[in-house]
Symmetry: D2
Subunit: 373 residues, 4 copies
């Protein structure tokens, strides 16, 4: 069941977060993400949930980390400069295995850049922005229904895999008002963590691919949360064997579950000769371009990743076998195009349609690129 | 001319920075980089140069940016957590085209990780850590003489290309005491920016590949420094054509000068069948392993990039033509290995020897990996 | 009309603030004042008013100043350490003539002191804590009904006299649960500022004793708010004549209205030989002691100031004429006792019952002091 | 022995601090005190002493507290707004009994006020600015030689009485360049604390009037430094008896040594009918006025306190017996005039010559006031 509404993208995300059970939001407003905070500031108190505006983005993510450790489902929302400020705390959240969701509405960068214009230039940062090896789960919805479903999924993945999840939007899909069927709460599939009751807690003693046993604070368990490596009992450790294991544990809890985490859409790929790889606002233009191309007899199709990190190597490699050309379309100077290059089989021709001037590609521009290819 | 000395790696860097004309250091101490700040705090006042300890890493880079704009050659030194905190200001420095040098002594991550153990896990972060598309110049010396020469080169590249330059060390090479011939100042080749005297200043009006005309403050020129995009006259602009041009200008001033920026070393590659790709501490073990391998009749060689960003695509592709296998050795879970994959021709077999437990590879371990390959 | 309730002192203050029209609260929690923030955080959103927790006390008062300038009735609540941190902003509020109310629930000091114990040791600080000459309006209720009425009066005085008003409580009266008749909103006499509509605004051009004409922001008036001195037109000025005038204006708008501002209570003073001077929790014990004394034939009375600053020189001097002895009772090492000394006529004997160990005086102790006098 | 020089007041203070052994300065520059920091930043590194600019005044005093606890003689210098920001940390320094010296160069207030104009409006704040009962030692030199001698004395008193000492200057005496005989270091009488070697350390177990036994850190003693009250063994305590004792100990270590702490000068008071009470810049005009008055046959004299807190009750009362009138001259709206009122015997007429417009009184103005009296 659902309700048909015309809503701004940011508001769809906020509503989806509430539907997913988000009960703590800390943030510092920044264009073009501010409507998320604004909506939360009004709606959360009515629901007995907590909204707090912090003094900056570092404090915002800090508050989210604390709230998550205390059992809350937490969200923050920001844009490029704020996302850069959050990088150190993101590493802490990965290390301490803290579930939380960060929305980054991408705008023109670097630095202040163009606050009111869209971009897709933070995709590599979302993978590599914090120091040290770390897993990243990053989702990039393109269409209004995906804004809802991927937001819910972001919370579910955070809770299942004990990791921060980044939701990458861009200024266009965040700011546009669109028709959407908003599911009623009962129809939203929500995953909730359940604190464990454990006889003999060894918080870091687990097998590859397993999630950490998480117990409630103040229940008598020895819990030691910090940014260091730990042995099975939770004591800080620099022992090589232990560190090795923990580094693997953090990675494998994600990489052993790619089937659950990686989601993508494909359009007209069955008989396609040329495949467009596009996500976010660019996927919108690309889909329209595919339709135009087909009308003109061009056998084009679209691969649209919803999960951009982990990168969908396997499904993409699979599709590469059947096509001759791949055209990556993104609003940056070539970021996921590098990944497509890496994954591509040698006989597939690669080209990228890139732009980073604040104007999204039109379907006609994508079509033109298809034809010139 | 030079003086033979036994010095710690961090001290070599500090001495090289002074030799390169560094006259402003702002930093916040963090293991394993602190000796750089310590040395500077003692030596700079004696030379009439400025050392200041700031309240954190964000303020430190902020101070460096301000000092650089005022004409100073500036340095800061940090490690992973501090480097993550600096990401937003790094983007500002790229955008405002501010020359400065950042030393990141890599230690075990993510988060606090292992402060006293080495890692090479911030290599991708050094390329992608700040939001928005941006050029990155990142140097990774391995041997003691390179610590000196690459530090000087970092300052020269910063001054020539109006961009922040990152010097990536690791805990081993930063902390080890080594024999080194320290060049006397007169023998150090230093590049100094010269403020322009311009009749009709159009600060952003330049051709692709050109450096910005930089004038002194307080000389009557209209200078507007901020994190926005600008038109030719320096006014903030969101106009697509202008933004396009500026994004290209920032990139091309680096990418049109790869011959000057990219530097690497190669050992025994002429007749090699298997090539090791390694940098920093891992290059030390790799070089020793190559020597051992040759003694055993294995035709191994080493490609050691000194410039890791921009990635040395061209020279590497060139060498790929002649070899059968490439073994990437790095102290992380696979970072530049991804780049090697991307660049490799399809017929070259790829493998990576990776570890991130705080222990560098021994030559024997690298040799064993060569043999198993 | 009113409702009989048992409420904690802090809650009475919060309810009174809401009744007085307080529509903005910014604060940082600190024992023993936190219940005020807690109550506001729950009730204000329901009323469409704004509650925000800030990162510290400096930011809290900063937010209140901004909100007040934008037309809000603002409150913050703190205790000693927070009050000390606020001193610089208090001076700004005095200088820029910003109406707002600060609750300081006094606890044992100095520094962290005894967070859960009462004191009356910030009375002189409330007068002199910020630098420069400045007027101070400080109220010190003692009984539960006064907690309500003086809170309302604090808002009214702030709005009438364009000055910060401090409400000094102590841990006992703030934490005790007491029976109180809470007036319904319609029965609360609230003073509201009305922004002026002025043809030719000269914001600082006024006569001694007059309040500043205050206009709304964004209505086209030239408004310049800062911490400097200003001439009649609002321009910063260091001219001696102007500064002289402004210093007088700020003082006289308070000191020409002492009849309106100074409020006190007196018990059994008509025929008293010995007068107790006491406020806050000490007034409670003192009143009980007066009753006990009268039962024993001792002609004691109580002077209880509700306004402690401006100090009630005139009424106190008047009463001094009729008595022989004055006993100041306060939970500090002698603060208002200095003022009583200053005001006392030479033939009146003075003594002070002082204590600062966290225990309020009992009525028996006050009675004993009366007898020993 | 000494050297004759023409120096700015601030520089005299800086030189005196160095002569007194000051080996740590932390500060944030503010007019009209900045030359002290400037001088220290240049001279301290040459002497192997530590200068650090901090991010604000709170951090500055925090750094001084830490350095003092670690055995350094520490100084910070500021003006009104910075002094207000320091109030919380001043309370900590009192509570933890930390010797340090704070220079406050008074300028026009409140708030930003008139940064380049003198005032004497922070005198009461220097006594009462932080919350809770606390002793205050505050010195207010007037003449150039006193700038030197009182600065040295400030350090000596801090070290002897384990308390922060405030040196109150005003913009005139801080900024004026004057002829002074600077004593050579050997001729400066410096008091140095000596860490105790104690068999059985009970840090707070001492008699009224005694200084605390202070031991070095890292010598094996249990030292617990915080803002709470403590029992004899150093454990935090809220026990009434303990707190009582500690509050007395902190006060009495100052008040039992008034003979050592209180210093003043007197001119022509032997046969005076009218006594001027003045300090700082006003004492300069007052002394000139006394000379003019004597020339005209008026029996005027001057009482010039060098120690303003503790207030010199006893010597002033003594002089009150012999005079008929007292004229307080100060650049504020009546601050120490309140104290003179309090101390004055009833038959002495009191009047105050007050001004707070940035212009010091001329000798002629003081003389006129004497005549009108």
């Amino acid at each position: 069941m659902s309700q048909r509404q015309v809503l701004q993208g940011n508001i769809i995300v906020a509503k989806a977060a509430l539907a997913a059970g988000c009960d703590f939001f800390a943030g510092y407003p920044i264009t073009p993400s501010s409507e998320i905070a604004q909506h939360m500031s009004k709606e959360m108190p009515k629901l007995g949930r907590v909204f707090i505006q912090m003094e900056d983005e570092i404090a915002s993510l800090g508050a989210c980390i604390g709230a998550s450790l205390a059992g809350r489902k937490t969200l923050t929302a920001t844009s490029g400069p704020g996302f850069s400020l959050m990088q150190e705390h993101i590493g802490f959240a990965v290390m301490a295995e803290v579930p939380l969701v960060i929305v980054n509405v991408m705008r023109g960068g670097p630095s202040t850049g163009m606050p009111t214009k869209p971009a897709q230039s933070d995709v590599m940062q979302a993978r590599w922005g914090t120091h040290g090896d770390h897993p990243a789960i990053v989702l990039a919805p393109a269409f209004s229904d995906e804004l809802f479903s991927e937001t819910v999924r972001a919370f579910n993945l955070a809770e299942k895999y004990w990791n921060p999840v980044v939701l990458l939007l861009d200024e266009v899909i965040a700011k546009a008002h669109e028709d959407i069927e908003v599911p009623v709460d009962e129809c939203v599939d929500v995953f909730c963590r359940e604190p464990n009751r454990i006889e003999d807690l060894n918080i870091y003693d687990r097998k590859l691919g397993e999630q950490p046993p998480r117990v409630d604070f103040f229940e008598g368990y020895p819990i030691h949360v910090d940014g260091l490596e730990h042995d099975a009992h939770g004591w800080p450790s620099f022992e090589a064997k232990t560190v090795d294991k923990m580094q693997q544990l953090r990675m494998e809890k994600v990489y052993q579950h790619l089937d659950d985490i990686i989601r993508f859409k494909e359009y007209e790929l069955d008989d396609a000769e040329v495949m467009i790889f596009a996500y976010g606002v660019s996927a919108r233009s690309a889909l329209a371009a595919v339709k135009l191309a087909r009308q003109q007899g061009i056998r084009a199709g679209l691969f649209q990743p919803l999960t951009v990190w982990p990168f969908p190597d396997a499904p993409l490699m699979e599709r590469m076998k059947r096509i001759k050309k791949v055209l990556t379309v993104e609003m940056n100077m070539g970021q996921l195009a590098l990944e497509v290059d890496r994954v591509a089989t040698p006989d597939v021709q690669r080209r990228a349609l890139l732009r980073v001037n604040g104007n999204p590609f039109t379907p006609a521009e994508v079509l033109a690129a298809l034809k010139e290819f």
